[in-house]
């Protein structure tokens, strides 16, 4: 089934919110949509799904991000550095740094989220990560005042920082981020998620 055309989605958005998508940012548009209580029902009457609209907004925002990033890169380039370096140095930096695995684990977790089917309700994988963080902290014996469960939960909203908190805690005791990565990989939760992974589309 084909996704509705952008103009159809934009017209639907205007009907629902009274705002033109082109006049507000994708971030604002997302917030407006989240405030509509019976959004799914209203969209259904227009033969549009929430996913269609969210995917469209996501695409608009991503294009905007790339446009701004490219412009920022050129500005830096004019001053000192080649555009190519804008995205690469973080990777290079972490590779030669004692905590180099932090970014790689963060990226790996984003990849894992990408590979894992979306959970049916709120929380899902994020909650799994938080629980896993707690388990790892128990194993490493890190005192809670240093990295509290609340702190993990607080940063857990984005997924990736959870791994970072876990690594930070692990570094203090195990002095090896890769050991923590091993814990994450061998986790029971990951095993459960594996069982839920369906066949390739």
């Amino acid at each position: 089934m084909h996704s509705p055309k952008p103009e159809v989605l934009e017209a639907a958005f205007h009907d629902l919110t009274g705002q033109h998508l082109k006049e507000i940012s994708p971030g604002e548009a997302t917030v407006l949509l989240e405030k509509i209580p019976d959004l799914d029902k209203q969209l259904q009457s227009k033969n549009i799904t929430r996913q269609d609209l969210e995917t469209h907004l996501n695409g608009v925002q991503k294009s905007l991000f790339r446009k701004i990033l490219d412009a920022g890169g050129k500005t830096v380039d004019v001053i000192t550095w080649p555009v190519r370096k804008i995205l690469w140095p973080p990777i290079k930096w972490y590779l030669k740094h004692p905590i180099r695995n932090t970014l790689l684990v963060a990226l790996a977790i984003v990849l894992l989220l990408y590979l894992t089917p979306a959970p049916p309700g709120p929380g899902g994988f994020r909650d799994d990560l938080i629980k896993q963080g707690e388990e790892i902290l128990k194993k490493t014996g890190v005192p809670t005042p240093q990295v509290s469960t609340e702190a993990i939960a607080k940063v857990g909203a984005t997924g990736a920082p959870v791994a970072e908190e876990v690594i930070k805690a692990g570094e203090q005791l195990l002095e090896s981020p890769s050991n923590i990565l091993e814990h994450i990989q061998k986790s029971k939760i990951l095993e459960e998620r594996m069982k839920k992974l369906g066949p390739l589309p």
Partner: protein, 143 residues
């Protein structure tokens, strides 16, 4: 030629004092005032719509989805070469990670900046975060 701008939050600027002065002089500090309240649901949408193109990543995805044991996934993940990602794929990953994720990396990186290369990395991450925040800000519609 003017120094590059470094957008840091006020909390991050407090950490900046630990960076050697000769390096601090090479950047113009600007206060990052843009904010975005991310949610797990928004991140899920970003992750779901990621479009990765590197052949290595596609092979990696295929292998992970075909794996039947945790050990297999462990092996795949520990050998995955994420350093060979293209700029496009990296920007997809940073976009999915969102400004909060990049902020955490910035905070952890800040106290360890000791060389021009480190500084360059910090500036890069700040450019990435500022771009993410700008794309989400109310003024983005006029860009």
């Amino acid at each position: 030629m003017s120094n590059p701008h470094l957008h840091l939050t006020t909390n991050e600027q407090a950490i900046l004092a630990v960076i050697p002065e000769n390096l601090r002089k090479k950047v113009n500090i600007e206060t990052e005032t843009l904010m975005y309240a991310d949610t797990p649901q928004r991140m899920q949408i970003r992750v779901k719509n990621m479009q990765l193109s590197a052949p290595g990543l596609l092979v990696f995805k295929k292998k992970v989805t075909e794996a039947t044991t945790v050990e297999e996934v462990t092996g795949l993940l520990s050998t995955a070469n994420l350093t060979a990602l293209s700029e496009d794929d990296l920007s997809e990953l940073y976009f999915a990670m969102g400004p909060d994720g990049v902020s955490t990396l910035i905070v952890q990186m800040l106290p360890h900046v000791r060389s021009e290369e480190d500084l360059e990395a910090l500036i890069s991450l700040c450019v990435i975060r500022h771009s993410l925040l700008l794309s989400l800000s109310p003024t983005a519609a006029s860009l």
